[in-house]
């Protein structure tokens, strides 16, 4: 297309592929060839002729030498320097190229927060069962019913009794969900730096409670019918407040995004960091 002689300031023309109708003719031909299946064999015959003519014409365009046209060159544009100078942020040690967020919580903060929130939530749920149903196992069995079909239709007496398999299922569901939501808190809280406590204790729990409230009748109608929503909201807020508190108390770590992959993955790569520091602009 272009070659070395076209490079540089002195060039006046550039060779570009010449316009051609052969590809279009071939496309018409192919379409007609197929369209003949639903119209008439004559259409297919015309289509095949067009296709062959198109192929021959197309070959002639590129063999033995590509058919080109010469386009006169207008001088290259100069990209003007920006009138606005780069504004440096004061925060961040990497100059204006601060990778926001500068600091994040380590993953362990989310796991710890999830476990702490989960413990408090479980305690509240047990209290709920004892106050409203006279049994600490009632809420545990209700949670287990999300994974155990036979419990979904159980009567109140069964739900109030201790069932080892239900206890294990509930423990797994509650534990996994708590840790996952705790991890989510660890990721999300740096995104809400102004009011983390409000976000953690009120906004997030109400959001997912609202989502569950709207959809549970479809996902699990039995569970929906048995849930005490005021207690449920209270438990969620307690979880959010505790998990948020634990996460927020954990010391943040710098984001690693600006570091090379080799450094992040712990591969010995002498010289990388020094080189980077040397390149850093002077403030």
């Amino acid at each position: 297309m272009d070659d070395e002689r076209n490079r540089g300031h002195e060039q006046t023309v550039i060779e570009m592929p010449a316009p051609t109708a052969w590809p279009m003719l071939m496309a018409v031909g192919l379409t007609l060839s197929f369209a003949g299946l639903v119209t008439s064999v004559a259409v297919t015959i015309v289509g095949i002729v067009f296709t062959i003519v198109g192929i021959v014409g197309w070959f002639g365009e590129v063999l033995p030498v590509e058919h080109t046209e010469s386009i006169a060159v207008t001088p290259a544009l100069e990209v003007p320097r920006a009138k606005v100078a780069v504004a440096y942020l004061e925060v961040g040690e990497m100059g204006h190229r601060a990778v926001l967020p500068l600091e994040i919580y380590p993953y362990r903060a989310g796991i710890k927060g999830g476990i702490a929130g989960g413990v408090v939530m479980a305690a509240l749920a047990v209290v709920h069962g004892m106050i409203l149903h006279g049994s600490p196992w009632y809420t545990i069995n209700i949670l287990a019913a999300t994974g155990m079909a036979d419990l979904a239709n159980a009567n109140a007496a069964t739900l109030s009794s201790f069932i080892p398999s239900a206890f294990i299922v509930a423990l797994v569901i509650h534990g996994v969900a708590s840790i996952l939501i705790g991890l989510l808190y660890g990721v999300l809280l740096p995104m809400a730096p102004r009011y983390p406590a409000f976000f953690a204790a009120i906004v997030a729990p109400l959001l997912w409670t609202g989502l569950l409230w709207a959809s549970l009748s479809v996902i699990n109608p039995v569970l929906d019918a048995r849930i005490e929503w005021r207690w449920f909201i209270l438990c969620q807020i307690a979880f959010g407040a505790v998990a948020g508190y634990v996460v927020d108390r954990t010391e943040k770590v710098r984001t690693l995004q600006h570091l090379p992959f080799a450094v992040r993955s712990g591969i010995e790569s002498p010289g990388i960091m020094r080189e980077r520091i040397e390149r850093e602009p002077e403030k």
Partner: protein, 561 residues
Amino acid sequence: MAGSIEHRIALSAESDHASLPILGRAHEWVVTVDHKRLGLMYIGGGLVFFLIAGLQAATMRLQLAIPNAGIIAPQVFNRLLTVHGTAMVFLVGMPILTGFLNYLVPLMIGARDLAFPRLNAFGFWLWLFGSLLLYFSYIGGDGLYGAGSAPDVGWFAYAPLTERAFSRGNSTDYWILSILLTSVGSTATAINLLTSIFCMRCEGMTLRKMPVLVWLAAVVSFLMCVVLPPLSAAQAMLLLDRFLGAHFFDTQAGGSAILWQHFFWIFGHPEVYVLVLPAFAFANEIIPVFSRKVIFGYSVMVAASCALAFISLGVWAHHMFSVGMAPAGNAFFAASTMLVSIPTGIKIFNWIGTMWGGKIRFRIPMMFSVGFLAQFLIAGLTGIMLAVAPFDWQLTDTYFVVAHFHYVLIGAIVFMIFAAIYYWFPKATGKMLGERLGKWHFWLFLIGFHMTFDTLHFAGLRGMPRRIYTYQPGRGLDTINLIASIGVIFQAAGILMFLINVIRSLRSGKPAGDDPWDAWTLEWSTSSPPPEYNFAELPVVRSRRPLWDLKHPEDPDWKYE
């Protein structure tokens, strides 16, 4: 031989073009092999089909606005449904998005054209003629001189509905042939893009310095090369069934209807990513420029896109939970579908991370991008809900699914198409699109979209089946459907504003200049519109933001990358 080659010197492309009569100018477009013109032709053609398929959707919503409406016959409804769905995927989504990639990729990689310019033209014309074949069925569905009978088998064309016994006449054949031809055209474009991206990047543009859009173009092209052949194979097998009496999908003769579903969804689900990844690509360019920040997590963004493409190849059967697969199969496809949420979540967080702390300019492209972010999040959440097999059993084939995929196709993809049009229109035409009309367009379309598709979730939850042409009153569906249909009027008004804006801007729009958004990628370093050869001198880049380096030589990016 060389002496016989026509060797035309265009003294000045612009003056030469302007002096041509209208037929001459039309001829220039017809014979062009320029990637920019072909890109614009893809986009223009796609927008025309968008209007037609949109009108078909509006007609269906008119019919569904009130219970027992007799505006159109059931058969007409089925035809509208089929052609609307097929057109929106093959005649609108794919061509507009590949049109953008066609236009932008060579400019962004600092090349003069795509690797195979004539193949590019061939791909476009094959797509166009294939598309016309679909709509030609309205005239000649029963043969050249037959009555019109557009396809009525749904865009998924489930077997054995498509066999001769259940689908007489030729309308289904038109559907098959149209998709077959457009798929071949799309495959040609994909091969062209892949070759160009890996072989024609300008000096200094290593893979780690490519714009994210170019990365995603490569991923999408790879995906197209992988998933379009199974679709074409299925179409060929269906043709054999219908014309030569083969029995691949004919259940009465021992064929398998499920086989069709597997073939179709092996293509159909990754196709969602063929459509949505370019939309992501636009967001990756627009959000940083309007936030005045570099993209947050470049490497992770690229890795997440590759992961999405890879995972999308292994989730097709989540469209088939209600078929009755083995529990292990259901569990596998439910789990693999949920995996999609990880790279998707990474992307959403990274876009938010890009905006956070940025100096955001809420111009029209950015407004559409923010709308996209929120809507795609909701689309993702309902997608995860549908990945739960028992939930899917309850809601499959209801309007909940219709609302979910329209959140992806309109809420994400169409919104980002509009964002991209507002963003790159100045580059392609040299004129700005009007800001005031653009805001009208955005707000009307946004309100209309939510009126229609938020409510349809509830129609689905209340058990309204999809693909029905009417419903009985008093089942809690009347108000929902009325609101959804009124939403279409808002959307149509928004589109009207957009069309007026485009026509007005083309006639008397504000001159854009070469770089109206103060952007950083290479396409903004050339004139608006760019010359045929793109760059007078092929650029040399040293960072992901080559224009930043030129504008800020005191503090270029390459020091830090």
